[in-house]
């Protein structure tokens, strides 16, 4: 239900950009446990809006590889694929487009914006895990 208590109308199709990223599973999966510089982060819950897990390989302050796993809507899957592609090869300090901006870029319906937050939370958890490793 929406905040106003009205039924939320599902948008079942999105922009061509959304279709492209949602069907792109190129980076779906998980990096092997022995990958150098491996960090991981998770967010969400499968029974409550979706669950996302990122594994990143960061070496010499550069994101060498990104993989993700998710259980949730194709809107979540599309955001995962987009962020994974965007971050690979970038410095670890890269600034990515915030969730709402990405949702707008990919033409998400407003009611779907919240789902991208789970993806962003998982990414932030992974990078926070890296900082913890570095601080030790």
């Amino acid at each position: 239900m929406s905040a106003a208590g009205l039924p939320v109308i599902l948008e079942t199709s999105g922009s061509a950009q959304f279709e492209f990223w949602a069907s792109n599973l190129e980076r779906a999966g998980r990096l092997a446990p022995d990958t150098p510089g491996l960090v991981e982060g998770r967010a969400g819950h499968a029974g409550a809006g979706g669950e996302v897990e990122f594994t990143l390989s960061i070496r010499s302050d550069r994101i060498e590889a990104v993989r993700y796993r998710f259980r949730g809507s194709p809107w979540i899957g599309a955001a995962c694929a987009f962020y994974a592609r965007l971050l690979e090869g970038q410095p670890a300090s890269v600034r990515w487009p915030p969730a709402a901006e990405l949702a707008g870029q990919l033409g998400y319906p407003r009611v779907r914006y919240d789902e991208v937050l789970i993806v962003e939370d998982a990414l932030m958890a992974a990078l926070a895990a890296r900082r913890e490793v570095c601080d030790e």
Partner: protein
């Protein structure tokens, strides 16, 4: 994962294509060369011919369900029929009580009407179902009171296809003098219905679930001077004053033709469809963490409701490409809420969201089922493999 282009329609519970024989028949009632006259204009021959066609259609509807012609009233569809049964009876019997009984797994057109009547001061008891999606007659018996004006339970659930024991529930109502209404939208033409034997007082039908056109349906009202409904729509006195409005001859003729074909071919259709449905489930049941909803109960021939618990149903549908299946009912999926039916059966919101409703029909082919099975298996396996924690549950 390639998204195939060829559309395969497996959402017959939402609506069916109109049978070509129905289209042919309807076309004769539209143009200047056809029987387009108002069936109430019985002062001239074209009007009388249109009237005769309407009455012939009424007879076809009655013949499918074991009713008398005069017990069949045309409406705009099952939603109106359900509203008319509930509101019409509640209005005419208000002085006798204010209690109504239904189940938690009814279609929105019943549940929303029930809620609206609650807001107007009526009291409604929503009887639960068991884990197999069956409304147990004993639970209905417990809910009935001397104040009960109406009991309403659907024949076949639109999401699971589970068949309710309307003979037993209707018997309980009849013993207590309580009118019994049945939403038979998903059962007409698929299951035998004999209202000369069944203890049912009101029954709702729709044409577009039986290969007829959208926008036309019927309400059966058992002939009984004590069973009076207040009309929802007033005007020219059509349908013996119960439902005013110019009769849509072409739609009514479409309904009648669809019901005639169902009477003549329904049994053979059902056997073939059941075979295809069971073959599909045989393939899907081999997948890990896939559960058939209502599998322990008698089900209508074309329904297959399965929870694909390792993945999200919406994503699964996305990767099925042009395979037209539903997540819940067409109405509930438009609202974006997990199915109330599946949750009433004890599924968690997550399990409900993992569910696909696959419904087969008259035009489904074995080739389509083979392709559908392949696509579902492929998409599910791929998505399950990339779900968090999948390494613990799935190989690679």
């Amino acid at each position: 994962m390639a998204r195939a282009q060829r559309p395969i329609y497996l959402d017959y519970a939402a609506t069916t294509p109109v049978d070509p024989r129905v289209i042919d028949r309807m076309a004769g009632f539209l143009g200047v060369e056809g029987l387009f006259a108002n069936p109430s204009s019985v002062t001239h021959a074209p009007g009388r011919a249109a009237r005769a066609a309407v009455e012939e259609a009424r007879h076809e509807v009655a013949a499918l369900i074991g009713a008398r012609d005069r017990e069949v009233y045309f409406t705009s569809g099952a939603t109106e029929s359900n509203n008319l049964a509930w509101r019409g009876l509640a209005a005419s019997r208000r002085d006798r009580g204010c209690h109504l009984v239904t189940s938690r797994i009814e279609h929105a057109s019943v549940l929303d009407t029930a809620r609206a009547l609650e807001a107007e001061g009526f009291r409604v008891t929503y009887v639960p179902c068991n884990r197999e999606g069956r409304v147990e007659p004993e639970r209905v018996r417990e809910a009935l009171t001397p104040e009960t004006l109406l009991c309403s339970v659907m024949h076949v659930n639109n999401e699971t296809g589970v068949i309710q024991d309307i003979a037993a529930i209707g018997g309980l109502c009849r013993d207590r003098g309580i009118p019994f209404h049945v939403d038979a939208v998903q059962s007409a033409g698929k299951l035998p219905i004999d209202l000369s034997e069944l203890p049912v007082d009101l029954m709702s039908f729709s044409a577009h679930k039986v290969y007829g056109p959208k926008g036309i349906g019927a309400l059966y009202v058992r002939h009984d001077p004590g069973l009076v409904l207040e009309p929802l729509i007033r005007g020219g006195g059509q349908e013996r004053g119960l439902r005013a409005g110019t009769l849509a001859t072409h739609q009514i003729v479409g309904l009648g033709t669809a019901f005639r074909i169902a009477r003549e071919e329904g049994e053979a259709d059902a056997a073939r469809i059941r075979q295809l449905r069971d073959a599909l489930w045989e393939r899907l049941s081999r997948l890990d963490q896939v559960h058939l909803n209502g599998g322990g109960a008698p089900r209508a021939c074309g329904h297959l409701s399965a929870s694909f618990n390792a993945v999200n149903g919406e994503s699964l549908i996305f990767f099925l490409g042009n395979l037209a299946v539903a997540q819940g009912s067409a109405c509930s999926s438009a609202r974006g809420e997990p199915s109330h039916v599946l949750q009433a059966m004890g599924l968690s919101p997550g399990e409900a969201e993992s569910t696909l409703r696959i419904t087969l029909g008259r035009f489904t082919t074995p080739e389509e089922i083979e392709i559908a099975a392949e696509r579902i298996i492929q998409a599910y396996t791929r998505l399950a493999a990339i779900a968090p924690g999948s390494g613990r549950r799935h190989a690679g």
